[in-house]
Amino acid sequence: MLGRWTKAAPFTEPDLGLLQRRDPTALRRMVNRHHGSMVGLARSILRNAAAADDVVQEAWIAVIAGLPSFEGRAKLSTWMMAILVNKARAHARREGRYVPLLDADDPYDEVEGPERFDHTGHWRVAPDDLETLTPERILAGREVWKQVRDQIDRLPAAQRAVLILRDVEGADAAETADILDLSAENQRVLLHRARIRLRRALDDLSHRG
């Protein structure tokens, strides 16, 4: 029973040998796989879309240049995200705009609003299991994947960064806390809030459709 709910989403590491030999197909696949995460993370740190795009391009150049010397001590995606975060922080510091990621700017502390439960603590209306949401489905005039991406963009910066590292890139709690310079507890709370907020937003989206 436990395994059904706690099984991690599949994260497949690319063939490192192909990447280190600069196989263009493997490199393209790697960039496509991780570019969205890179952009989301950079925006979380820089809070400026144009600056984030510049830093992401700089990070990709550094990643591709550094691949031959990557020794595989960390997961490839973790190594890439650490390069990106370091570059984003350095850029923000140069611009005098570095703000550490904190959850203090997020007053949100509700989980599911109490209005969703009756006085005995049971759901008033059963939640949607979201099974009908597929990335390509059109809801409220747009594909679901674009709406999900918008919802991720709307998360507070620290929640977005943690969600991307944990759920999209498959980093573990310690790696995520280390890369983002967060305490273990802060990392856990931010992930919880991000997941709840995203799940709730998709529930609303599902009902609108």
Binding site: H35, G36, D128, P135, V168, L191, I196
Partner: protein, 77 residues
């Protein structure tokens, strides 16, 4: 355990961060409660959609800047 506790614990449950006793209570509640199973399925579905939504192709301009655009490869090839 009641339904209103499930969202508060869902993230820790899938991360195996709960104590053994709470984890068992949570699992037992899921066995009994269809609504909370639907909630948890949606929780995991939201995670899957997050992964898929961020894995769409990178912009052509970036691929060109990195020398990885397919047209560039054909010219070189």
């Amino acid at each position: 355990m009641t339904c209103d506790q499930i969202p508060k614990l869902a993230s820790s449950y899938i991360g195996r961060d709960l104590s053994a006793v709470i984890r068992l209570k949570f699992a037992f509640h899921l066995v009994q409660c269809k609504s909370c199973r639907a909630y948890m399925r949606g929780f995991l579905k939201a995670r899957d959609l997050a992964v898929q939504s961020l894995q769409m192709p990178a912009p052509d301009a970036l691929m060109q800047a990195l020398g990885l655009h397919e047209d560039d490869q054909k010219v070189r090839g």
